[in-house]
């Protein structure tokens, strides 16, 4: 049913019905808006530096004694996207075990950080890397040599984990 009494149009005053004052007011708003500072980040030149709490692509920690990973396979087990594949082997070193093969399929990874959470050795952590671009599917499967990152570059994340984990 159509409402015919006390409608918006009837309640408006003469000047409101003209619309012009309102339009001029609106123009004033947009004009002011034009001179306000912009928030846009000019991306390739101006990069964003994430905080330690940021979960970028998962990487393997490489400290003074070499890789930390002992190939327990927990990360692979917990990964909800089945992105991680680990193959263990024995070694002469103190830790006795190391991963012969450690692959993360970045097409599958959902950056949930469970692998990092479950790792008993703090060997896999989330880095700050968010620029993940691949030219084909094969190159999106990262092997050990791409995943190992020196510990110095991961200090922010390790600090964050120590404090909040």
């Amino acid at each position: 049913m159509n409402v015919t009494q006390n409608t918006e149009a009837q309640r408006m005053s003469f000047w409101e019905k003209l619309y012009l004052p309102a339009i001029v007011q609106g123009l004033g708003v947009t004009l002011r808006q034009m001179f306000r500072p912009k928030f846009t980040r000019q991306y390739p030149e101006e990069r964003w530096e994430p905080l330690g709490s940021y979960r970028g692509s998962p990487v393997l920690v490489l400290d003074e004694d070499g890789e930390r990973c002992v190939a327990c396979g927990l990360c692979s087990r917990v990964c909800p996207a089945l992105a991680i594949e680990v193959q263990a082997a024995e070694t002469e070193r103190e830790k006795e075990r190391y991963p012969v093969k450690f692959e993360i399929n970045m097409l599958r990874c959902i950056y949930c950080g469970y692998c990092e959470e479950v790792c008993p050795e703090e060997a896999i952590v989330m880095s700050k890397d968010y620029e993940l671009v691949f030219e084909d599917r094969e190159s999106a499967i990262l092997g050990k040599e791409q995943l190992l990152v020196p510990i110095e570059k991961l200090q922010d994340r390790l600090e964050f984990l120590r404090r909040y984990k």
Partner: protein, 351 residues
Amino acid sequence: MPELLVQFVIAGVKAFIVVNTVLLAAATLVYVERRVAAWIQDRIGPNRVGPFGLLQPFADVLKLYFKEDLVPALADRAYHRLAPLISIAVALSLYAVIPIADYVVIGGERIPLSVAPGINVGVLYILAMTSIGVYGIVLAGWASNNKYSLLGGLRSSAQMISYELALGLSIVGVVMVAGTLDIAEIIARQKHVWNIVYQPLGFLLFLVASFAETNRAPFDLPEAEPELVGGYHTEYSSMKFGLFFLAEYSNMVVASLMMATLFLGGWHVPFVPELPQWLGLQEGSIGLALFQAAVTVAKTAALLFLFIWVRWTVPRFRYDQLMRLGWRVLLPFALLNIVVTGTVLLALELV
């Protein structure tokens, strides 16, 4: 050389300059529109191609050229092809009668600076040509064999026809005050007092009607994206789409130029009409012509900015609101304007 050939060459050169300037201006306008829109929306806008992104329009046009030119399977091919041509041809031919500056004297020859000078029905010519522009849009909508295109075309034609009345009638006041339909003559009479002073209501009506006439926001119903995809040019791609786009912006330039010449004194400087004489610019010299052209362009640019500014401020009208505004507000006010103008003119002559 025979006299006719000389005239032909002069007109040709002027037309060449005007057409190319207009095309360049339309391209630049697209860039300006995107930049201003971005600023209003707290963004930066295109700033990558060339300094400040100034080469963006050229990149856009180049991109359009490389696009595939698609014609829908069941479209009427001939009309589908003809429609953008009509649009752009009409848009460009409008510039023929609008003078940018007064005249120059080159080699003893007095050359008025509009492509077709001395047309004593200049205003009528423009109104007539804009009406033909509707054909381009209707044909585009119909020939595409697409319901959205057709609806867009229909809306557009209904809108343009409705607002043409108000547009034409709002100019009548100016014509009555000036006593002539020759645009150069109308400008010449505005040397001391601009027509906007005599015809404030006329100017407002013309402004609103020309927003509708050029299919610009808040009256951009023919291409209301949420309802009609792209409107009448949904089925156009590549440079055919580019031509519609160009025609639209070119029409905007024409509307602004019309307002600048009919209401805002054309090439006359505000408050100090004698400024060029004080600067020592000779009547008929190229310097004066350039000065006048600069004034006209400045006024046009300001109005074009208004077009863009309004587009990013006011929301789109509903179709029934559009029609009501056209027929029940603008048209009666335009008629009232004529009556009042006529009465005042008559009274002044009697006094």
